[in-house]
């Protein structure tokens, strides 16, 4: 088990390193450096920057040093929590991120919970009742959910809601709670506004999960150990829940890690359409304005989060499946 964790941890660290390089490359892709952009924005607001000052800034950010030194400066700053400065929001990146981090995480966690709560039972139902009308309906909607991009669902649902009920499904808070402090009422308001984004964000994942649960369960239901349990006199419901579902859950767990990148991707697009105050929306704004430190920090954060998520799902998998532990021993 220890070797297993160690090996997975090493993979995770290598992957995190790779992601940091990719993020750094993206940050440096736009023409001109950070200071050039900064000067441009300062001039636009009427501030003049002296050439010496600009040079001083370059020195400070290490922009005159070779690229690997720049990378090193950037990554070591990030590791101690200094994420740089955002022009677009005119405050340190860290503060921008802190502002909407909670909303973002709530949305993502909500979507994952939704995927699990809806996807697994429907997948089980669909497999146990294979070829029933219910199974066909589920399969059909699964295809729809997979095929339709999130932002289109969001656009259509939001339009229909506005057209039919007059409810404007944008934002995460009603106007009266927008600047209010946290209270029960505000939390409730947030929950109400979260429902639609969570469902939309979870659609594709749910569809995938249903498909995978169903396929796995169908395989498992044919295995001899199911017959053994049946011959023991276990009731059909208990039997399915105890044995094959348990087996089928393994891929479901590894799938959660696989879904994570899609959730993050989806939330960027969805936040834009539904105008949700999340990092996704900030990210797009940062990209359009070439606010590199903010966008770089978000790309890096999203990547790292996924890798850490995968790491934990691997551990979880090994914990519930003795066979994996055996393989790695």
């Amino acid at each position: 088990m220890f070797i297993f964790i160690l090996r997975r941890a090493i993979y995770a660290i290598i992957a995190m390193w790779a992601v940091s390089i990719i993020s750094f490359v993206i940050i440096n892709l736009p023409a001109g450096d950070y200071v050039t952009t900064y000067i441009a924005t300062q001039i636009a607001t009427g501030n003049l920057i002296l050439a010496e000052e600009a040079e001083g800034l370059r020195e400070l950010y290490g922009l005159n040093s070779p690229i690997y030194v720049q990378y090193w400066k950037w990554i070591s700053n990030i590791l101690v929590g200094n994420l740089g400065y955002s022009f677009e929001f005119t405050q340190p990146v860290r503060e921008v991120v802190q502002l909407n981090l909670l909303n973002t995480l709530l949305l993502g966690l909500g979507a994952i919970l939704f995927i699990w709560i809806v996807g697994v039972p429907i997948g089980i139902y669909s497999a146990v009742k294979q070829y029933s009308p219910g199974d066909y309906i589920v399969t059909f909607f699964g295809f729809l959910g997979l095929g339709i991009p999130d932002f289109l669902i969001a656009l259509v649902v939001a339009y229909l809601l506005l057209d039919l009920t007059g409810f404007l499904a944008t934002g995460l808070f009603s106007a009266e709670y927008l600047s209010a402090g946290w209270s029960f009422g505000k939390a409730w308001d947030l929950a109400k506004h979260m429902i639609l984004p969570v469902i939309i964000l979870g659609t594709a994942g749910t569809a995938t999960l249903i498909r995978i649960t169903r396929a796995n369960l169908l395989d498992e239901l044919k295995k001899p150990y199911v017959t053994t349990a049946r011959a023991k006199g276990v009731s059909e419901f208990k039997l399915v829940m105890k044995y094959p579902v348990r087996y089928a859950l393994n891929p479901v767990i590894s799938l959660t890690a696989y879904i994570l990148p899609f959730i993050i991707s989806g939330s960027v697009v969805l936040s834009t359409v539904l105008d949700l105050p999340t990092l996704g929306r900030d990210f797009l704004r940062a990209l359009l304005a070439q606010d590199i430190y903010l966008s770089g920090a978000i790309i890096l954060g999203a990547g790292w989060l996924t890798i850490v998520g995968t790491f934990f799902s691997d551990l979880l998998l090994a914990w519930i499946d003795p066979r994996i532990r055996l393989e790695e021993e």
């Binding site: 993979y11 992957a15 656009l155 259509v156 990148p261 359009l288 990547g303 996924t306």
Partner: protein, 380 residues
């Protein structure tokens, strides 16, 4: 193994020639037969084929110049083409008159007393087809003095008064072309790396597999967005098109590589490969005659699914304003004008490119699944 096979008196190559011929034929027929049985996949393939007809004949199918701007026509609602006047066959459409209401919104009224005669194969705006200048269109106005741009709005107009239907034809062309170029790029990368990985195994395989894992574990949209945002806004339409194609295919190849490698590994242990090896067939012969045929269908299936993936990604990028930029017309750039929910409430027909995307993506998915199922004659 091959060398040890004792030579028979009759020429073994001849025997294999005929037997493998039969094998390949029957395998293809088997796949085709199974695919035909998959009715949904058949319908889906026909739809996909129709989309490609649009790609080729986009301008012929369009009625109006997709770039023709006229503020007076802003947000004209869809104007149906009518085939009958009462019971008399008569191809026509009603004229539209617009005025501003008290909220200064454009309101249009249909006036069917003043009908405008239409005809098939009419002359309209000029376009180039295979380098030849043409001005023929499937549908147009009978009276040459009236412009189609001002009269036919099958799917309404957008904020600048451009005909949504004609733009959709051109958008289909560009979006599907991005997908196609993307497939070529990712097929090349995917098959190369997948085959290398599957063929050499060992450290090389391990390295490639780990890289694929890492790439797959990165949320793609932020990366796409990051890359796309780095392209200067003043790039030409063509340059941007190729740049976006590369971005879109950059991550699609991993799935293809995985499929190719998986097939390679599985195939090496397949009984018929061993059988061919034992009966003295050369390695090259085995790869080309025995392995590749059962390979194609898997690659086609994976490509079909990747195509859907790329079309969605292009749409998302352009929708967010980071992919193709106007004046390029694609599903994404068209939907870009429908970003705002209030705008959609005003002109819901702006979502029609979305319907096209959904139909296309679903069809590609069904088709890909159908091919995949058919390619596995002994699978479930």
């Amino acid at each position: 193994m091959v060398a040890n096979t004792p030579a028979r008196t009759n020429d073994p190559v001849d025997e294999i020639e005929t037997s493998s011929e039969v094998q390949v034929m029957s395998q293809r027929q088997l796949i085709w037969r199974r695919f035909k049985r998959h009715r949904l996949a058949m319908i889906a393939s026909i739809i996909v084929a129709l989309f490609y007809v649009v790609v080729v004949f986009a301008d012929f199918l369009a009625t109006s110049d997709p770039q023709d701007i006229e503020a007076a026509r802003q947000y004209t609602p869809p104007q149906w083409v009518r085939f009958f006047d009462g019971i008399k066959p008569d191809l026509h459409t009603c004229s539209m008159t617009g005025k501003r209401d008290e909220f200064l919104r454009k309101v249009y009224e249909r006036d069917c007393d003043r009908k405008i005669d239409l005809r098939l194969f009419a002359r309209g705006y000029e376009y180039k087809f295979l380098g030849i200048k043409l001005d023929w269109h499937l549908l147009g106005v009978s009276d040459p003095s009236i412009r189609a741009e001002d009269t036919i709005f099958i799917l309404g107009t957008d904020v600048q008064g451009r005909d949504v239907y004609s733009r959709l034809m051109r958008g289909t062309r560009l979006s599907l072309l991005i997908g196609l170029f993307g497939i070529v790029v990712s097929l090349f990368m995917g098959t190369m790396l997948g085959a290398i990985s599957g063929f050499y195994g060992g450290i090389v395989d391990n390295l490639i597999q780990r890289s694929i894992e890492i790439i797959r574990s990165i949320p793609t949209v932020p990366l796409y967005l990051g890359l796309a945002a780095a392209f200067p806004a003043d790039w030409s339409v063509e340059r941007r098109f190729f740049a976006i194609t590369i971005v879109v295919s950059l991550f699609a190849w991993t799935e293809l590589a995985r499929v190719v490698r998986g097939r390679f590994l599985a195939m090496r242990q397949e009984d018929f490969v061993t059988a061919a090896l034992v009966s003295g067939a050369s390695r090259r012969r085995i790869i080309f005659r025995h392995m590749l045929p059962s390979f194609y269908s898997h690659i086609i299936a994976a490509s079909t699914l990747a195509l859907a993936f790329m079309i969605i990604n292009e749409t998302v990028l352009s929708f967010l304003g980071l992919g193709l930029l106007p004046p390029a017309i694609s599903y994404g750039t068209m939907l870009f004008t429908a970003q705002n929910i209030q705008t959609i409430a005003l002109a819901p027909w702006l979502l029609t490119p979305g319907i096209f995307v959904v139909i296309l993506v679903l069809s590609l998915n069904f088709m890909g699944d159908g091919i995949r199922d058919a390619a596995d004659p002994y699978g479930s």
